[in-house]
């Protein structure tokens, strides 16, 4: 019954309007390389303060769905993924477009994105309520070990070095430390500056890491342009039923992979599409065709990255842990609207949760319609001169940091974290673990302190309580696996060097 009421609410004019605006905005920024969903969402959060909280969440969620899908356009026509999650789409989308079939490449991607979104939406609706019920049984140790697992998972799975991933997560944890400690009301690490009493607020940190660092990066790469493939008027974008039928197994498998990877706390859509692409290639009858403009590659990558968005909403709603770095913005927006995601959310804000879940499905349908009818037009604007865009986004970013509390300190925080994010990115430190570490630091510390109070200073419950023990085992297993991976990769490199010599 709740689900029907939620659909009815979401399909009423006002919420639907915000979903459409969100999805359209998301597709637009997703299609332009250098801009992204995280950037748009972080910039929009301050504008939602005066909005109804459900509409605000629907708007931001629509932006997320739109941006993940919009990346497909530039990945296919420009060989430049509009969003990192569309990276795998470039491998087959661009070659297929080069072969004179840009319409087919887009139609396959759009259709796969819709199915990926719908499948993960069904999982979201089916899994969130029972998981939320299960999360009621969690105590401080379960929460602490789960957050620990999330941090270890994202640091281990992030591309590049595991050490750098862990370091980024630690830096995120440290960034959340200054200011008033909620556990005991003590000020710490303020170094005598009054402005530091509030610490580094969520929004300026996210704006710095997601927007400012990207702006500096974009400024450096402003002359980097892809070779654009234009679309003929006769190119068909609406997917054919025959194609959907032909790829249905690949779509379902990749959507399930995307959803599952999304559920794992802290892991983003790029990993989903990589895993789904790899598995599709392994099981394909024509693996040698992958990377040359093969339908299956586009379908796998696009269904997985869209499914990831829905999967990532599951841990966010049920336990208050963002499923992907971009979901940290959604979490932040919810907290700013006085909504605390977690096991109690179904009781305290049941209407909002059901609207969010049904809205996610509607957003995917809206995305499909907008993409089908606007992809041709968007193809013309993806090469827009970024010299116009960067300063405007920059000005928006700074005003977005200033607006919530009218403090210039927050604007300097954006600059500081932007520069930090840029340097870390250049040195190949993944920024995802930083964001997750920053967002989860508070809950991690408070749960650990509560747990230690209960156990009188003993860490034994980490392995004596069944749920906490399972999270601890997963964390340790991932650490060992990552160390083994790095060790074997070093061995391989050393052997290659020896062979070359």
């Amino acid at each position: 019954m709740e689900i029907l009421n939620a659909f009815q609410h979401v399909l009423s004019p006002y919420p639907l309007m915000w979903i459409i605006i969100g999805v359209a905005g998301g597709i637009f920024v997703g299609a332009i390389p250098g801009l992204g969903g995280g950037m748009l969402m972080a910039l929009t959060v301050p504008l939602t303060f005066s909005m109804d909280s459900t509409n605000a969440v629907l708007l931001l969620m629509g932006m997320h769905v739109g941006s993940v899908s919009g990346g497909l356009i530039s990945a296919t026509l420009l060989k430049m993924p509009g969003t990192p999650s569309a990276m795998m789409t470039t491998f087959d989308g661009y070659p297929l477009a080069q072969k004179g079939q840009p319409g087919k490449a887009l139609s396959l991607g759009i259709g796969a994105s819709l199915f990926g979104g719908i499948v993960s939406g069904i999982f979201l609706i089916a899994l969130a309520p029972p998981l939320s019920h299960l999360a009621h049984k969690f105590g401080p140790w379960e929460y602490f070990t789960m957050v620990l697992m999330a941090v270890v998972l994202i640091a281990s799975i992030s591309q590049g070095s595991m050490l750098k991933g862990l370091m980024a997560a630690l830096l995120g944890l440290l960034a959340a430390m200054p200011g008033l400690n909620e556990s005991d009301g003590q000020l710490r690490l303020t170094y005598g500056f009054e402005s530091m009493d509030d610490g580094f607020n969520l929004l300026p940190v996210l704006l710095g890491i997601f927007v400012m660092s990207q702006i500096i990066k974009d400024a450096l790469e402003i002359n980097k342009k892809g070779i654009s493939i234009s679309m003929a008027k006769t190119d068909r974008i609406f997917p054919k039923f025959r194609e959907w039928k032909q790829h249905i197994f690949n779509i379902l498998r990749s959507s399930c992979i995307g959803t599952w990877v999304g559920i794992l706390p802290g892991i983003g859509a790029s990993i989903s599409s990589m895993v789904a692409y790899g598995i599709a290639k392994t099981f394909s009858k024509k693996p040698e065709k992958f990377g040359t403009g093969h339908d299956e590659g586009i379908v796998a990558a696009e269904s997985a990255n869209n499914a990831n968005a829905g999967g990532a909403l599951i841990p966010l709603i049920t336990i208050g842990i963002p499923g992907a770095p971009v979901d940290a913005i959604l979490l932040g927006a919810m907290i700013m609207h006085q909504i605390q995601p977690g096991p109690l959310l179904f009781q305290t804000n049941g209407d909002l949760v059901w609207s969010l879940m049904t809205g996610y499905i509607i957003a995917n349908i809206v995305m499909f319609l907008i993409m089908v009818f606007s992809a041709r037009g968007l193809a013309k604007v993806i090469n827009i001169n970024r010299a116009y865009l960067i300063p405007i986004v920059f000005a928006f970013c700074l005003i977005g940091a200033y607006a919530p509390s009218n403090r210039m300190f927050d604007v300097w925080v954006v600059i500081g974290f932007g520069v930090l994010g840029f340097i870390l990115d250049r040195a190949k430190f993944p920024l995802g673990p930083f964001v997750i570490g920053y967002v989860l630091a508070g809950i991690m510390e408070s749960e650990l302190r509560s747990g230690l109070q209960m156990s009188e200073g003993s860490f034994a419950p980490m392995i004596t309580r069944p749920i906490a023990a399972s999270f601890t085992i997963v964390s340790v297993a991932f650490l060992i696996y990552s160390v083994y991976q790095e060790w074997s990769s070093r061995k391989r490199v050393t052997m290659d060097d020896a062979t070359a010599e």
Binding site: M177, I216, A395
Partner: protein, 158 residues
């Protein structure tokens, strides 16, 4: 136990900065009072996080140093292709904020100058872009002031 660093020089510099940051945090931790109702207190979390940062930074630095010794120096020019451009973006942003914070310029005027200046630099003073960006700057500066104050009720620097 680690693969080769792809950015050894930068890694060494970043690790140096991170160790300095961790030491700075450890100095700040000394001022936090000891725990009075729970076993760990407010200092424990940042203290152990800072120790871990130092440990990881040393590990990354050792790996970077090894890579630096065995690899040909090809990264030197690869770090930033146009460092001046990155620096000017940050510098212009700092001036933009400082001009409003000091009360020297209002949001409107500062934004017009900021957008025009940044667009022009990014477009390498291309005349066509400069003309368009001047129009965009005026529209965004004055329009933005109206939008933020009248529609979103934000209190902008005057």
């Amino acid at each position: 136990m680690a693969s080769k660093s792809r950015t050894p020089r930068l890694d060494l510099a970043v690790c140096g900065g991170l160790i300095a940051l961790a030491v700075f945090i450890l100095m700040g931790v000394k001022d936090i009072p000891p725990p009075f109702f729970d076993p760990v207190g407010s200092a424990a979390f940042p203290k152990y996080a800072a120790y871990l940062v130092i440990a990881f930074a040393i590990a990354i630095a050792i790996r970077a140093y090894r890579s630096l010794k065995t690899e040909k120096p090809k990264e030197a020019q690869g770090f930033i292709s146009e460092p001046l451009l990155a620096l000017s973006v940050v510098l212009i942003a700092c001036l933009y904020i400082a001009s409003m914070q000091s009360g020297l310029l209002s949001y409107r005027i500062a934004t017009v100058i900021f957008i025009f200046l940044l667009s022009s630099i990014l477009a390498r003073l291309e005349k066509r872009v400069m003309i368009s960006s001047a129009i965009i700057a005026v529209v965004f500066g004055f329009g933005g002031q109206y939008l933020f104050t009248e529609v979103f009720y934000m209190d902008l620097p005057q």
